[in-house]
Structure formats: C-alpha cells, structure tokens
Amino acid sequence: MDSTTFVKPTLDYVHLWPILVVLGVAALGVVVEAFVPRARRFVTQTVLALAGLAAALVGTVLVGLDLTEVGDGAARGLLTAGGTLVIDGPAVFLWGLVLIFAVGGVLLFAERRLEGGVSAFAGQAAALPGTEAERQAQGLDHTEVYPLMMFAVAGMMIFPTAGDLLTMFVALEVLSLPLYLLCGLARRRRLLSQEAAMKYFLLGAFSSGFFLYGVALVYGFAGSMDLAAIDQAVRADTGNHTLLAIGMGLLAVGLLFKVGAVPFQSWTPDVYQGAPTAVTAFMAAGTKIAAFGAILRLFYVGFGSDRWTWQPMLWVVAILTMVVGAVLAISQSDVKRMLAYSSIAHTGFLLTGVLGVQTSAELADGQVTSLQAILFYLTTYGFSMVAAFAIVTLVRDSGGEATAFDRWAGLGRRSPWVAGAFAFLLLSMAGIPLTGGFVGKWAVFTVAFSAGAWPVVLVAIFSSVVAIYFYVRHIRLMFFTAPTADSAAVVAPSLLTSATIAVGVLATVLLGIVPGPVLDLAGHAGEFIR
C-alpha cells in the first residue's frame, strides 16, 4: 500500500454528543442484557433507553443552538470526523425528529398491559410456535429489543448526517439490520412476523447491494466518496459521465427502497403488517425521516448541480408512488396494510417536495424552501403515523390485535374517543384543513409548484382525492356501520401507550392550527452545508 502520512482526524465530541450517547446506551443495553438478571432487565432497559434518548434530545437542542454560520450564511453547522459527518441545521432537525419518535417507540415497546403483563415481543424468538420451548418462554419477553432499537436510532441519526457515501452506507446498514430483526420478534402471529422479517431482510439486502454498487460507480467517477468532492467533480464534469448517471440511479434505487417508493414499495405492506405494531410505528416514522434526510443531502449536495439528470427520474417515481400507493390502498381490507399503502402515498408526496428544490437565487425572500417543506411534512407524518399505529395496538380481541376492517365496524359507537382520535389522524393523513397533514401537503405542493413541477402537483392532488376516499371509508366504517358480533374491542392501555397517542394527536392538532413555529424552525435550520 502506498504510504500516506497519517493525519489524526479531529472528532468534535461536543457536537457528536447525541449520536455518541445513543450508541453508548445501545452498547450499555447489551451489557445489561448480559449481566442484569432477567427479572430486572425490563425496567433497567426501559429506563436506560428513555434516559439515553432524553440526554440525546437535550444534546440535540444544545447542538442546534450553537451551530455557527458557514460560508455565505445560507447554512449553519460544521464538519467533523474528517468531513465524514456534517452536522448542519437540517441534520440536527432530523435528529430531533428521530429521537422524539424513538421515545414514542420505546414507550410502545414497553407497553405490557395490552398483552396482560408481557410485552408484544416473543419470549424466545427462536422457539418454534406451538412447541414446548415456546410454552416455557410464555411469560418472558425479549428485552434485547431496546438495544436493537437504540442501534437503529443511531443509524437513523447518522444517515442524514453522513458527509460521504461510505458513512452513508454504513449508517444505512446500522439502521436496517436491527429493524430486520425487530420485525421478526412478534409474540402473536409468529409466522407472519418471521415472514415479514425475511422479506424485509432479503429485499433490504438486495437494495443495499444496489446502493453500494452505486457508491462504487460514483467513486469511480469522482475519485472520492466525499459529497463535496463529488459535487466538485460533477461541476467540473471531469471523468466518465455514464458512470455518474448509472451510479446516481443505483444510489437512488437503494434510497428509494428505504422510503418505500414505487417500484420498490413491494416490501412495505407486508413488513408493516407482519412486524409487531410497535415496531411498525417506530419504523414507519424513523426510517422515512432518516432516509429522506439522506436523499435530500445526496441529491442536493452531491448531485445538486446535475439536477437535470435526476429530476426526470424522480418525477416519474414520485408520480408512480403517489398513484400506486393511493390506488392500491383502496383494495385493502386490513388496517395496517392500509396505513402501509398510505405511507407509500406519503412517500410520493414527500418526493414531490424533493422536486421543489430551487437555488436561493430563484426564491423570493420569505418564500418557503423545499427543505423546509419536507422537514415539516416529515414532522407531521411522523406524529400521525406513530399515533395511528399506537391506536391500532389497542383494538384487540382474544387473538391479539384485530386489524381486519370488519373487526373495526362500529368502533365509534363502543369507544368514541379512540375512534375519534383515529379518525382525526386519518383526516390528517388525508390532508383535511386544520390538521398537520394539510399544512404539510400544502408546503410540499407549494414548493413543487413554484419549482415548476405543476404536473406532479396535479397528479398529487388527484391521488389525494383517491386517498381521501379510503380514509373516509374507514371513518364511515367506524362510525356509521353497526357493530357486529365479532367486532373487536378497545383494550385500556397503560399510561405509556396513552401518552404516545395523546402526544401524537395533540401534535397533529397543533401543527394544523399553529404550524408557524415548526415551519420557522425548519426554515431556521437553513440549508445543507455544501
């Protein structure tokens, strides 16, 4: 190997604090698993996870407060770890989001009243359903889920922070692998859960392979993994442009898979349905947030100056995603699947926002930027999704959660509050005014429109109409259909789940009525560091 003199990279521990804490807690969690007797693990793990997340949140806020302006002041933040981590406004904002929803996830993970004293996770993942081994593991539950989730959270935080492709790839895996496992740990409906895990894993590994080859090709084009350097190379247009184009496409495949965009959406419904609902809630929010952060950074920073190569592709993908997501959702008969497809449609709307990128020259002062819009949309989306899935965990019968539509018939009569909350969240996802979802949609449509992508916006509006249909149909099911004999009932949850739901609904309301602060915060986050 050629002898390059070693230069010691500087690690800005202060600004990396949130990530370090989460990783540390994850490792600590493993230690707890190893040394704390089983009886005390559950409490220890929960407390540990929550404490870690809280610390990380505080750290995030502090970091966000003292980001210093760089360059022309459009962006604020700093590069650390030899430029592999870029801590700028959007990144910190996304950290905050991920951490908040991670807290929600922990609360849902820790819910034990619904299953009668045990969590929703299998006692012994490897035990065959219906065997002696499983019966022995009946009273137990896997507390490993907390460390696993912490690792996933760390990956989600690093993903949008990554300043070079390699880090991005590693983060991608760090966030994916734990999720693969978490998907397979459901206590009820083991086969479904395991199947979901396998599908998610195989497809996920497949897509990460694409991503990696894209990394290789782009590296071949630019001679560096660093996004800034890639940007330079793209501007200079040195090197083989086909390499760049193909690499870009492959990278896009990898990322679009993670956000579940058509034509890479096939895993989403299966996994969302099969995974334990708590995991689904966390995954639906976290993964999308992290992955969109990465998409934005990659395409705005790395390939920003080559917009005309990737925008047509994204146009098609966005349109397909919205239409397919909305149309297929109609034919669903299972709540979780319906939510999954709606999340696909949301991906489409977010991609519409991604298309709204404009150079600061093109923007009027005070006009909302695409970054701002997407960050806001992710916020609303996350809250409504987490809360919605949390509610799904409540509707149960003797066999666990009852997710089939007909089981939900007349829920509004039996427990108007839960049904009302769910209806409200659905309305928010449908983008009815006075909900967070409306403002979010408004923002992304606006930016896309001003960037001249009005055909996409029109399609988006069309698919919104379609989407509204199945949302309202479900509301109608809950309120205007007479409950049948086998309608499921709502089980009273412990404070943990109730808190999650309450916060989610409340946030959705507030974001709908006074979106100003969050929007300004997102705007204040500024641009990526180029």
Binding site: F438, F445, S450, V472
Partner: protein
C-alpha cells in the same frame, strides 16, 4: 368600539358552544336547549354586527393577524354587504333548524332509521355538529384571507359529513360519502389554484394571501384563466351547477330536512359567495372570458333541475333538485356581469335561503306526520292540518317566485339581467320559472289536496315529546315558531326588498367596477324603496 373583534367573537361563540355541548355529559334535552341558546346568542351578535355596519363602508370590522408567516397567511376577517347578508342568513337559519330538528334525533325519520341511528348522545351530537357548522360557515363568509377561507371552506365538510351520515334515513352514510367525495375533490382543485396564487404572489415580491394584497397583483392572462378555472370548478361543485350536481339530490333525500336546510341554504351559498368574492374579484379578465360557458351551464342547471324535479316522487329529493334550478339562476345572475344580475344574485341567495328552508322544514313536518317521504303516499294533508298546508303553500309559491314574495324580486332582477345580456338567455331562464310553477303546484296538489291517505301504520305516532306525532294534530307551537318567521321574511322582503338592496348594491357596484362593467344600479318597482332603510331591519 370598532377595535372590538366582533367577527372573531361571532365565530367563537358557536364554536365554543359546540365543543361544550360535545364534551359536557348533558342529557339530550338540555343539550338541545343549550345549543338553541348559543345559536340565539349568535343571532344577537350577528344583529349587533349588522347594527354597526356602514352600507357604503366596503370591507369593515376587519381584523388582521399573522398566522403562518412562512406562507404569508393571515388570520383576517371582515364583512362587506355580501358577507353581512349571508352571515345574517346563517345566524337566522340555525336556531330555526335546531328547533325544527328538536325531535328528529329522538324519533328517527322514516320507517327504516332505527338500525343505523345511534341513540346515545345523538341529540347532543346533532347540536354540536350543527353549531360547529354554523361557526365555520360564519368564518367562511367573514374570511378575507384566501388561505383562511380555504381552510374553513374545507373544514365545513367535516361537520356536514357527520350531520348527513349520522342523522337521517337508510343509505345516508353512502350519501354522505358521495357528498364528501364531491366536495373534497372540488376543494382539492381549489387547492391547486390557491397554491398557484401563492406562487404568483411569491414571484411578485413577498408572498401574501390577504385578499387586499392579492387584488394588487397583476396576474397574467394565461395564469389567471387557469387559476380562475380551479376556483370556479370548486365553487361549481359546491353550488352546485349542472355537471357536478349529482350529489345534491341523494344527500337531501337521505339527510334529515334540518340537515338539508343547513346544506342547501347555508353551505351551498358558499359556492355562489365564492364565485362573487374570488372568481370575479381576483380574476376579472378570466371571468369575462369564461362568461359564455358559465352562463350556458347555469341555463342547463335551471332547465334540467326543474325538469327532473317535476317527476320526483320523494319530496325531499324534489326540493333538493329545485335548488339546483335556483342555483342556476344565481350563477346566471352573477355571470351576466351587470348590476341587475349582481344584485339579483345576492338577493336571490338570501331569498332562496328563506324560501327553500321553509319548504324543507314544512316538508319535514308533513313527513313526520305521514311517516313517509313519498309524495304518492301522501295526500289530503290540507284537510287534516290546514295551517301547515297553508305555510307549505306559501313556501312553495315563494319557490316558484310568485310576485309579492321576496323570491320574485330577485328572480325578476336576474331575468332582466339575462335579457340585457342576451335575449335568448333571458327566454330560456323564463322557461325555468314556468317549469318551477309546474313542479311546485303539482307537488302541492299531490301532497295536500285530494282524499286523505291514512298514515302508514305504526309510524310517527306518540314518539314526539310534544305529541305532534299523531297524523291528526296540526302545526304545533314549536313548528309554528320555526315556520312563521321564514314565511314572514318571504312576504316582508317581497314587498320591501330595500334593505337587502341597500346592503348589496354598493358591494355589487364596486365589484363590477373591478370587473370593468358599469351601468346604473337597479331600480326597484316598489314605492317603499325611496325611503332610505337601515339594514337593521334586514335582520
């Protein structure tokens, strides 16, 4: 005094009322009383607003606060002549509706309601939703920020949906779904245009949604026409106009008459209101460009609505379809773009509100007695309940625009305007009146005259608290209190439309100036109009 946020309070009172009714565990009866009280208070507030309204003051009682600075969105309210009239209409109708629907929720309408109606707290729900709808409608009429308007415009659908889907007859939830889908589809088209407005305003300096700011923009012809289209389609669905009217009949047929009143007489006014307030004010050029098509659609609505109304056997469906014809008239009046038309349209909105409301409610009482909504199963009502029949007749005559009733004035103005625009347009419009005469009178004949048909067994009897359920009893006090004011209003404004014109003319004048059409204000053929009348009496 002027800095007191009258309009905000006006909106908040019913809103708070609805939330309170929804949350407090009151028994249905008290909930109704509470709701009625709230709506009356609202009416009083509306009157107060009217009291300090200056006819020539343009937009007044304005309040403006930043809401979402990132979008240039403000919380901005204000009233002008148009807004005032519609606010008053709303404020008047809601209490009446609450009274009229007093017993609907206890005793479901029609023989097949039981399986779907929820008993528990349903009365409360009805009151709560109604008040919510009132609050939002008032906000819509008072909004002077396009974003705010859009938000409440869409938000009105939620209470409306639950009113239609929750109370009424079998198949109502399907009807509600249809209603909602139509409205939301229209609303999203509107969304596109509103976003377009933002983009345009962003290109010309800092984005703002204030109506006053938007009027300053110079929107390119091309863009203007596209945006106009978006607005117009949404309002056409709302109004409704011919091609997108199909939700109307189903909804009115399935919902309770009270709900239908709220929908047809208040909500649908938003459509025509929007046409005036946004299509004309923001896109004058595009409006003129679109006039021929719109007029054609209006004419089709008039004739088509009247024609299919004739053959209907379901009384509620019939009344609903008459409204299609009426909204045709209103739209016609708006888009012939002259002052007669404008004033006529504005008047028409109010009068149609009163008239159709009376008709719906009266029909509701009849149905309550006969236990059916099918005209073919009624008949001979006038022998049993002459007073009810009489009021029903007056309402019907108002619907067909009999001279001396208020609707005549507005219809007359619109038709004059139509003739001014194109003689043949006027001619076709006139046929609408003829057809109206047919369906109204025939309906009256089939329901009220003739031999008395015994009520369907086991329906409508004894379920009513104040024992009006019996097919024999005539109009009860409650029902009288509901119907009389409407009929009085119809007659009063028939002879003395001055106040309405006073309120509407200046508005129409300024509007048409903006559109670029100027001609003399309409002269009213009633001697009283010389004496200046203050608008209070309008309330």
């Amino acid at each position: 005094m002027s800095d007191f946020p009258w309009l905000t309070v006006l909106v908040l009172v019913p809103l708070v009322g609805s939330v309170a009714v929804a949350l407090l565990p009151l028994p249905a009866a008290q909930a109704k009383q509470a709701g009625l009280a709230v709506s009356v208070v609202t009416l009083a507030l509306a009157a107060a607003v009217a009291a300090q309204f200056d006819v020539d003051g343009g937009m007044q009682l304005t309040e403006t606060h930043d809401w979402i600075s990132a979008f240039g969105v403000h919380y901005a309210l204000g009233v002008d002549g148009l807004g005032l009239l519609l606010i008053l209409l709303t404020a008047v109708l809601v209490p009446l509706v609450l009274l009229a629907a007093w017993s609907d929720t206890d005793q479901p309408l029609g023989p097949d309601g039981e399986d779907e109606t929820t008993r528990q707290g349903s009365g409360r729900a009805f009151v709560a939703w109604t008040l919510a709808l009132e609050a939002l409608s008032l906000a819509v009429f008072a909004a002077t920020d396009v974003f705010l308007f859009y938000v409440v415009f869409e938000a009105t659908l939620i209470p409306a949906y639950f009113l239609v889907g929750g109370f009424g007859r079998e198949g109502r939830s399907a009807a509600a779904l249809k209603f909602l889908m139509f409205q939301l589809a229209g609303g999203l088209v509107l969304l596109a245009s509103v976003i377009g407005l933002y983009v345009v305003s962003a290109q010309q300096g800092s984005p703002s949604y204030l109506l006053s700011d938007l009027e300053q923009l110079d929107i390119g012809t091309e863009a203007g026409r596209w945006l106009f289209l978006g607005f117009f389609i949404a309002f056409a669905v709302k109004a409704p106009l011919f091609p997108v009217h199909t939700w109307l009949a189903d909804t009115t047929e399935r919902a309770t008459p009270a709900t239908s009143v709220l929908l047809v007489c208040v909500l649908d006014k938003i459509g025509t209101f929007g046409m005036l307030r946004f299509c004309l004010e923001l896109f004058p050029e595009a409006s003129q460009w679109a006039t021929p098509v719109v007029v054609a659609l209006a004419l089709v609505s008039i004739v088509y609505g009247a024609l299919i109304a004739i053959g209907q056997d379901d009384i509620l469906r019939l009344i609903g379809l008459t409204s299609l014809s009426h909204f045709g008239f209103i739209t016609l009046g708006i888009f012939v773009l002259n002052t007669q038309g404008g004033s006529g349209a504005v008047l028409y909105m109010v009068n149609h509100g009163l008239g159709t409301a009376a008709l719906f409610l009266a029909a509701g009482f009849v149905i309550r007695r006969r236990g059916t909504t099918l005209i073919s199963q009624m008949g001979g009502v006038e022998k049993v309940t002459p007073v009810l029949a009489g009021l029903f007749l007056v309402a019907g005559l108002a619907t067909l625009g009999l001279p001396g009733l208020s609707t005549f004035v507005s219809e007359f103005l619109v038709i004059i305007a139509a003739f001014q625009y194109q003689w043949w347009v006027g001619a076709i419009a006139v046929t609408g009146i003829v057809l109206a005469a047919i369906y109204v009178l025939w309906m009256y004949q089939r329901t009220m005259t003739g031999p008395t048909v015994p009520a369907l067994p086991g329906t409508g009897t004894g379920a009513d608290p104040d024992a009006t359920g019996s097919t024999r009893t005539d109009l009860t006090v409650r029902e009288g209190v509901v119907l009389v004011p409407l009929v009085v209003g119809l007659v009063l404004f028939g002879f003395y439309p001055g106040p309405l014109l006073e309120a509407s003319n200046p508005y129409v004048g300024t509007l048409l100036e903006r559109v670029g059409v100027t001609d003399d204000a309409p002269t009213v053929t009633s001697p009283e109009s010389e004496t200046p009348a203050s608008a209070e009496e309008g309330s």
